[in-house]
Symmetry: C2
Subunit: 287 residues, 2 copies
């Protein structure tokens, strides 16, 4: 087990959440809390404890990259339907570590310049440098999700992209970046409740877009597109994790757990001094 | 007064810290806590309360920029001698707001490409977009600090830069960005203590660089260069604040206070809905 903050988890959490062979998205209970038997209050405590551990791992990862010849980095890819909680993950999980070690990119509708290039061009440019935790708020997967649902590219181009993504991610993983792909999964009804809350609170109106309701009609098509994504791109070097997200506290704790596992696996150590510590103490004392 | 978290401050803090006419850096007591009479424990409480307020201001600023035609943004420029605490400000003050609304840039030694352009070229590219809090960890001021101390450019070029900076910052301010320039000021002795701590703790070795001791010999030259910076570039549209930083807790609280003042001055309001809220509720309920 990775650390004391993780003591309330049971089973192999990554395995429980992973979209493996025979995975069926429609079978996932979006209100479930796989591997975690405690309640919301305990989860808040565990999240705070995990934040401290994530913080130290991040600093070690960063420190090592400054001194040693290491390419280790982490890339968290977040995908979800609107209101599923990507922002909350960034704020409450990623936001708990030093911002100096995080490289966050929110991918929007491609610009004309980006559209002139292959769909992976803009993604490549935003990969985390060694020592960083990169976070993609949406990603190249939009190009096979909305791209497919709204026919933004011809079918054979969409088809080509799954293979291109796998090759791309293989190369990224081989270069030392641990890839953690997360889909936050809420139910159609939960999304309605969350969008309704945005309409009921004036301080949330800015997050609401009438187009969100139009997208809801395409829900089954999006689910089918996600199912295909999992079948085609959940690989050993870049697995997909489907995190039930109707309970925000569970989703945050689960993503934190997955990040901690990735960092534990890298296990970055404080780098050794590249100078003579005692000699430097003397020089400094005399300065 | 801006908010309840600020109740322990007295006097016009910005005015107390501002490098105005007749400002003399050598007269600043780096252990002082201007405007704040409480101790470290109270400061920790006040910092947490201020963080919640900063968080809401940031979200309002961001929300408004998404909906209204506003250019309002904030730019925090951080300059300091090594170990003065820039990293701590970013981690503990900036790090308390949603990372999705922060644009952080750490300026390093210029790359060959950057050196081919005017010194402000790389800075212009990293200005915060509307709605963001931009943070510069070092900045264009390096070009008149280390640039001057180590003669990295001819004297007439260094001289030209002060005016260029003022014109540049005037344009940035006119476009809607509130500029807050902070120099964290520690004493020569405090720096020795902090560097010594890095030598004594293996988990801090990575932060130590033997070149730091060489730079210490240039301390008087750096202080003279800073003094000139304040005389030439502390303007109404982009004032310099010199924050005594031997006490880290004070420096963090003071910078948070300056950010809160800047945001209070912008006073961003939640944007109004650009759609018919009641009609959307019906559409959503039926979806």
């Amino acid at each position: 087990m990775i650390a004391s903050s993780q003591k309330h988890w049971s089973g192999d959490v990554a395995e429980l959440l992973r979209a493996g062979d025979d995975f069926v998205l429609a079978d996932v209970d979006t209100r479930a809390t796989p591997g975690y038997g405690e309640d919301k209050d305990q989860a808040a405590e565990d999240l705070a404890a995990g934040a401290a551990e994530l913080d130290e791992y991040q600093e070690r990862l960063f420190a090592r990259s400054r001194v040693d010849a290491t390419n280790a980095a982490v890339l968290l890819v977040l995908q979800a339907m609107d209101s599923a909680g990507k922002g909350g993950i960034i704020r409450h999980v990623v936001g708990s570590v030093d911002p100096q070690g995080v490289a966050l990119t929110a991918f929007k509708k491609p610009t004309p310049e980006e559209l002139e290039h292959d769909f992976l061009w803009r993604v490549e440019r935003r990969l985390p440098e060694p020592g960083y935790i990169g976070v993609f708020d949406r990603s190249h997967y939009e190009d096979v999700l909305i791209g497919r649902v709204r026919s933004l590219a011809p079918p054979d181009e969409i088809e080509r992209r799954y293979g291109a993504i796998n090759e791309f991610e293989q190369r990224v993983a081989d270069s030392g970046t641990r890839i953690v792909k997360v889909m936050l999964h809420i139910s159609h009804g939960e999304q309605r409740d969350r969008l309704m809350e945005r309409l009921e609170r004036p301080d949330k109106h800015w997050k609401y877009n009438p187009g969100d309701v139009d997208e809801r009609e395409l829900w089954p098509k999006y689910m089918a597109a996600y199912q295909t994504v999992f079948e085609r791109t959940s690989t050993d070097h870049a697995p997909w994790y489907v995190v039930p997200a109707d309970r925000k506290w569970y989703a945050r704790l689960a993503v934190q757990h997955l990040l901690l596992e990735a960092l534990e696996d890298i296990d970055p150590q404080w780098p050794l001094a590249t100078f003579d510590v005692e000699a430097e103490k003397k020089r400094l004392a005399a300065s």
